[in-house]
């Protein structure tokens, strides 16, 4: 014990003798040594075109005038390809898993095995259908979106996005690297929150963590894409529908970036005041992506990984949905009780009871919001020709049928727009909340990161609804 303290005391004394700038001094000597060794073993045989080509590309994609438009164009192209490409395979998978397999499984468990109706209900109409729905709605867009996104990433484009956004984030009082963690959030918010570790300053790291939820994550892209196709795309003539829908999704994503900046700015002006740290961002060389390997790894790592997560969460959620639709109190199911009670004030916000209930059931994973909404809508409106009983998710083989159901459920363009906004602005999923808690170690900041987006969601939806009703 004594020796330990002596050692530390000796170190303190010596530090005092040497002076304060030892840290810089050591770093300088390391740099000197490194440059020495490099000069002995590295031979640079003249500059080549490759370097110049990189510099030339960077001059354009990171320029003041073209940086942001190019970024928007690339994003919009990726969404457009995703929207246009996933309709047909979605319908195909749904026809197999839902239309053909579901009745077969139902008959097998209910009739062949002779199980009671509630057992068949929970297992087949609840768990299985939820899973089938998630696979058919999510697999095709993800299988297109992720490889495209990964190709951009492999090529080296993401750091350029950060470079373009850096200034905006610094003006908001946040760290420029927050642009990178934000980009990670477009894949998964939990991953984005962990990625905030690259930020040194605790203040700026907290800003990055709290605002990451404003990056649309892949659990929410399908919601955005589907609702945009149904409600926004339908407003445009058919040949423009795809582009308009993609534009709407880009707008929501940009709105997310805007909120990210706005909240960073207000927090850094109030509770999280402090200096902005400087850093150097290295722009890696452009590399031609290894096409097939990228395709393979993005399918395995991202698409199947995310899909698997969605399925794991969808199965219990399916059970919950079925139960809320079938457990009755006073002749009315729990779900309907909730929807009826929530409807009046939800509609005040331009939403409806179904959406609120769906977001409560879907707290574990945003992926299952759409299937839940559809099922609840059918149940609440008692649309006769679709579905096969309360709490049963049903077959839908096209976007237009989905559209028909939602319209029957009283949905308007306003509901669609507000659902897109609410999908952007609501509490993070349970995984992300847990990750935020683990990363910050603070209940307070976890609560802030959870509640602020939800409040913002209600406020924004309210104003949009009032404005909309004023105009129409």
């Amino acid at each position: 014990m004594e020796n330990k303290n002596k050692l530390i005391a000796a170190a303190n004394n010596l530090r005092y003798e040497i002076g304060e700038n030892l840290h810089d001094y050591v770093i300088e000597s390391i740099y000197e040594e490194a440059s020495d060794i490099a000069s002995k073993s590295v031979k640079n045989n003249g500059k080549t075109d490759k370097f110049n080509l990189d510099a030339k590309i960077d001059k354009i994609v990171t320029s003041r005038a073209w940086g942001i438009p190019i970024m928007l164009f690339l994003l919009a192209t990726v969404f457009w390809l995703t929207i246009e490409g996933s309709n047909v395979p979605s319908a195909f998978i749904a026809s197999i898993l839902v239309e053909s397999l579901h009745p077969l499984l139902r008959d097998f468990v209910g009739i062949t095995l002779g199980m009671p109706w509630w057992f068949t209900g929970v297992l087949i109409d609840g768990a299985y259908l939820a899973m089938a729905w998630v696979v058919s709605v999510m697999l095709p867009p993800m299988a297109i979106f992720f490889p495209l996104f990964t190709l951009l990433e492999d090529f080296g484009y993401l750091p350029r996005v950060a470079f373009n956004m850096d200034n905006a984030f610094r003006k908001a009082g946040a760290h420029g690297k927050q642009a990178l963690t934000m980009s990670m959030g477009f894949g998964c918010n939990a991953a984005g929150v962990i990625a905030a570790r690259i930020i040194d300053s605790p203040r700026e790291r907290l800003l990055a963590i709290i605002t990451n939820n404003f990056s649309l994550c892949n659990g929410r892209w399908p919601t955005q894409i589907l609702i945009s196709t149904i409600f926004i795309g339908a407003l445009a003539p058919p040949y423009l529908a795809g582009i308009i829908s993609a534009g709407a999704v880009v707008t929501v994503a940009l709105l997310g970036i805007g909120f990210s900046l706005l909240l960073s700015w207000s927090l850094s002006k109030t509770v999280l005041r402090g200096e902005v740290s400087t850093f150097s961002l290295e722009l890696p060389p452009y590399r031609p992506p290894l096409f097939f390997r990228t395709l393979y790894t993005s399918l395995i790592d991202r698409t199947l990984f995310v899909l698997w997560r969605a399925v794991i969460f969808a199965v219990p959620a399916g059970v919950v949905i079925w139960l809320t639709g079938n457990i009755e109190i006073g002749g009315v199911s729990i779900a309907e009780h909730f929807i009826l009670a929530a409807d009046p004030w939800a509609i005040f916000f331009g939403l409806n009871g179904v959406i609120l209930l769906a977001y409560i059931i879907a707290i574990p994973a945003n992926e299952i919001v759409i299937p839940t909404i559809l099922m609840l809508t059918v149940m609440a409106t008692k649309v006769a020709e679709v579905g096969s009983g309360a709490g049963v998710m049903f077959e839908l083989d096209s976007v237009s049928e989905t559209s028909a159901i939602l319209t029957a459920g009283g949905w308007t363009t306003l509901t669609g727009i507000n659902l897109m906004l609410f999908s952007l602005l609501h509490n993070p999923c349970s995984t992300t909340i847990y990750t935020i808690y683990k990363e910050t170690g603070s209940v307070k900041w976890t609560a802030v990161a959870t509640i602020i987006p939800l409040l913002l969601g209600f406020i924004i939806c309210f104003f949009v609804a009032q404005f909309w009703r004023l105009l129409s």
């Binding site: 020796n3 330990k4 002596k6 050692l7 530390i8 000796a10 170190a11 303190n12 010596l14 530090r15 003798e17 040497i18 030892l22 840290h23 001094y25 050591v26 770093i27 000597s29 390391i30 740099y31 040594e33 490194a34 440059s35 060794i37 490099a38 002995k40 073993s41 590295v42 031979k43 640079n44 045989n45 003249g46 080549t48 490759k50 370097f51 990964t150 990433e153 492999d154 090529f155 080296g156 993401l158 750091p159 690297k177 990178l180 962990i194 990625a195 570790r197 690259i198 040194d200 790291r205 961002l281 290295e282 890696p284 060389p285 590399r287 290894l290 790894t297 395995i300 790592d301 991202r302």
Partner: protein, 266 residues
């Protein structure tokens, strides 16, 4: 130095090495050696990691992709290796979480060898980190990755002279296309089995006053913790007032370092 590695033609023979590498993926319950994977951001650490373990950790062309430790395993020459992919950092001297994860693992995780992955096209900057790692640990291998890209840029790297300067095995590689992985495995094996004794380069260009202070603290540390593998580095950190190291001394965590790593610093 590199002669040690090229003991016989068979040792570096591609076929021979492939046959003795068995990728174990996540199966890392038992292992003989721990390998740490360090390096600057975006130098291809995760690609090297994947090439060795057969895992498919997500890789991407941007700095700062790996923020947490990833672990995997492989078997080589009948020995089991656990490999830990550390977050990429530019230095080990600041206080950000990712740098601390990397530094603490190299120090307290007691890896049997630290593989430093460097970008051949930006070698000078990467050497800063290499030198910092060599201040902490004796057993290291430098993997000069992206060598094909450097060649395209007409950058020529003298691997042998680099190895001589740094005092550790140096391997040129292009992990993306699996080039140089066999040589890397061999170098790792030579270091962990003690066939190659590293004589790592230490910072020598320090002023008299600083050197003297370091020397006197180093002696104190050696007396207090006989067998600690890196007294000089600890002395330097203490002089800088590094709280993590001060805490490690106060809590006695530093004593654990003296255990399984009996090799003293030259």
């Amino acid at each position: 130095m590199t002669e040690n590695l090229k003991a016989s033609a068979c040792d570096v023979c591609e076929v021979n090495n492939r046959a003795s590498l068995k990728r174990m993926g996540l199966n890392i319950e038992k292992f003989d050696f721990i390998v740490a994977l360090a390096g600057n951001p975006n130098t291809g650490k995760s690609t090297v990691f994947n090439a060795l373990t057969g895992l498919r950790q997500h890789t991407g062309n941007w700095p700062g992709k790996t923020v947490a430790r990833a672990e995997g395993g492989f078997e080589y020459n009948d020995k089991m290796f656990k490999i830990v992919d550390l977050p990429g950092t530019y230095s080990l001297l600041s206080t950000s979480t990712d740098e601390e994860i990397a530094r603490n693992f190299i120090l307290f995780g007691k890896p049997d060898v630290t593989v430093i992955v460097a970008d051949a096209t930006r070698l000078e900057r990467n050497l800063n980190l290499v030198l910092q790692v060599l201040e902490i640990t004796d057993k290291a291998v430098l993997c000069v990755n992206l060598i094909d890209e450097a060649e395209r840029h007409n950058v020529e790297i003298d691997i042998r002279s680099l190895s001589k300067e740094l005092g550790i095995p140096v391997v040129a590689a292009s992990a993306r296309s699996n080039k140089g992985i066999s040589e890397l495995l061999n170098a790792v094996f030579q270091v962990v089995t003690g066939n190659f004794i590293c004589k790592p380069k230490r910072i020598s260009k320090l002023s008299g006053k600083v050197s003297k202070a370091i020397r006197s603290l180093t002696t104190m540390i050696e007396n207090e913790y006989p067998g600690v593998p890196n007294p000089r580095w600890i002395a330097l950190r203490l002089l800088e007032g590094d709280q993590r190291i001060i805490d490690a001394i106060k809590s006695g965590e530093i004593i654990e370092l003296t255990g399984s790593n009996p090799q003293a610093v030259v």
